[in-house]
């Protein structure tokens, strides 16, 4: 067992975990943060993406023990005071999801992308999301949703496109 102290969405947690516990299981089963999904479980689909110390990672391939003293942001950490984060609003407004299974990971990857590049081209958005697979929307609206959020985060006027 390992005792870890992790800041998750701004709140500090001290927990005992098995050495083999993966970050995604720690978040879902010990902290009950089930917004982070397990999709392929082979670090390809990106449903489990969270941000650790400023970098997006696949939590199905990250040991919880390694995250001792780290700061983790999950999908649950984005909305503030009941207001959706611009990315969440963008996915809502632009119909960026159908079943929604991939959405938390998509949003966390997009969150990392927009931290590094606040004004990405469509091509850069697609490259930034290459670690996330969606089986239903076909990506066009996901790109629109990220661009909606990017514009809003830059302080520009935004409106939902006709989709």
């Amino acid at each position: 067992m390992a005792r870890i102290t992790v800041t998750v969405n701004g709140k500090s947690h001290t927990s005992d975990v098995e050495d083999r516990t993966l970050l995604v299981h720690y978040l879902r089963e010990q902290l009950n943060l089930t917004g982070t999904h397990i999709g392929c479980d082979t670090s390809q689909c990106g449903a489990c993406v969270v941000v650790v110390d400023g970098n997006s990672v696949k939590s199905c391939t990250t040991l919880a023990a390694r995250c001792d003293h780290a700061s983790v942001t999950t999908i649950e950490g984005l909305a503030q005071d009941g207001n959706l984060h611009p990315l969440q609003e963008g996915f809502w407004e632009c119909h960026g999801l159908q079943c929604g299974f991939c959405t938390p990971g998509m949003i966390m990857s997009a969150y990392d992308l927009l931290q590094q590049n606040p004004n990405p081209s469509d091509d850069e958005v697609r490259h930034g999301l290459e670690g996330n697979l969606c089986r239903c929307t076909g990506y066009h609206n996901i790109v629109r949703a990220v661009q909606y959020a990017a514009a809003k985060m830059r302080g520009e006027e935004v409106s939902a496109p006709n989709v």
């Binding site: 082979t42 290459e130 670690g131």
Partner: protein, 288 residues
């Protein structure tokens, strides 16, 4: 999927990791990015009883040019290398290669030392490292030694590193005027592993190709040099006919592996196609 039980130990320096390796012997494994090892452990293909975490260790960081050599700490991540101006200027093919590995989440974790020490049959860096004729520095309790690229990859998932050694540094040449290097790959659309990848480095002097190193990954058990292809190109003027003749020899002397993604025959055909692409790009750079 959850790995079989193991003991996790964090090492804070190479010296500490070496002591831990000695203590735990063959049952221990080093983990850096973990994106090859942890999936293998989840599938029970690998079941170390102790994992020694060497990620983020300051001893294994650093990117520097010393004369004609570029040295990269084994613990530098793909993302750090892909975005390093020093690497782009000194040996752009390394930055370009690691910049297209997997996806940003993989590149945030994966390390250059991990890729070379793991010798995955479908890794990208192994071929680039071979084509560049680089070397690695391995540290052990007995000191350190250098291993040339040509001697590093022994067989599938097996390198010349001993179980008590840590791959500490990776050194590649700084490309000079008249030299060019490129990597071309056919990638798997989801994992982005190389179904076939070919790396080439060429030197041109007075319009004649004076040296060539070509290596293939993805198609066989481990990355491997292409002697006939290299021999055919050297001495030529590197024009379209010369590239065609050399590419036709690529893949001549190697073992192939087929799987659900591509058959042996398809890989054999693609080695020639991607060899031509890599050679053309390397030659164009050498002439520039």
């Amino acid at each position: 999927m959850i790995p079989a039980a193991f003991q996790y130990v964090k090492a804070n320096s190479v010296a500490e990791a070496l002591v831990l390796l000695q203590q735990h012997g063959e049952d221990a494994k080093l983990v850096a990015g973990g994106h090859s090892l942890i999936p293998a452990m989840k599938l029970r293909l690998s079941q170390p009883s102790v994992l020694i975490d060497i990620a983020g260790m300051a001893d294994l960081k650093g990117i520097a040019v010393n004369g004609a050599e570029l040295t990269i700490g084994a613990g530098e991540t793909y993302h750090a290398i892909a975005t390093s101006a020093t690497v782009k200027n000194a040996c752009g093919v390394v930055a370009a290669c690691v910049g297209q590995i997997g996806d940003i989440q993989v590149r945030n974790c994966g390390t250059i030392g991990g890729a070379l020490a793991h010798s995955d049959p479908a890794a990208d860096l192994t071929a680039v490292f071979l084509a560049l004729g680089g070397k690695v520095t391995a540290q052990s309790a007995n000191g350190s030694r250098q291993i040339a690229a040509d001697d590093l990859f022994v067989s599938m998932l097996t390198t010349a590193l001993d179980s008590g050694e840590i791959l500490a540094k990776v050194t590649v040449p700084v490309l000079q005027k008249g030299q060019g290097a490129a990597y071309a790959k056919l990638k798997h659309p989801a994992s982005r592993y190389a179904i076939v990848g070919v790396a080439a480095m060429v030197t041109i002097s007075n319009g004649v190709v004076t040296a060539a190193r070509v290596a293939v990954t993805g198609a066989g058990p481990q990355a491997v040099r292409q002697a006939s292809c290299e021999k055919t190109l050297v001495g030529s003027n590197g024009d379209a006919a010369a590239v065609k003749a050399a590419a036709a020899k690529a893949g001549d002397d190697m073992d192939y592996l087929g799987d659900i993604h591509a058959s042996e025959e398809y890989r054999r055909a693609m080695v020639q196609v991607y060899a031509a692409r890599a050679l053309n790009e390397a030659l164009a750079q050498a002439r520039a």
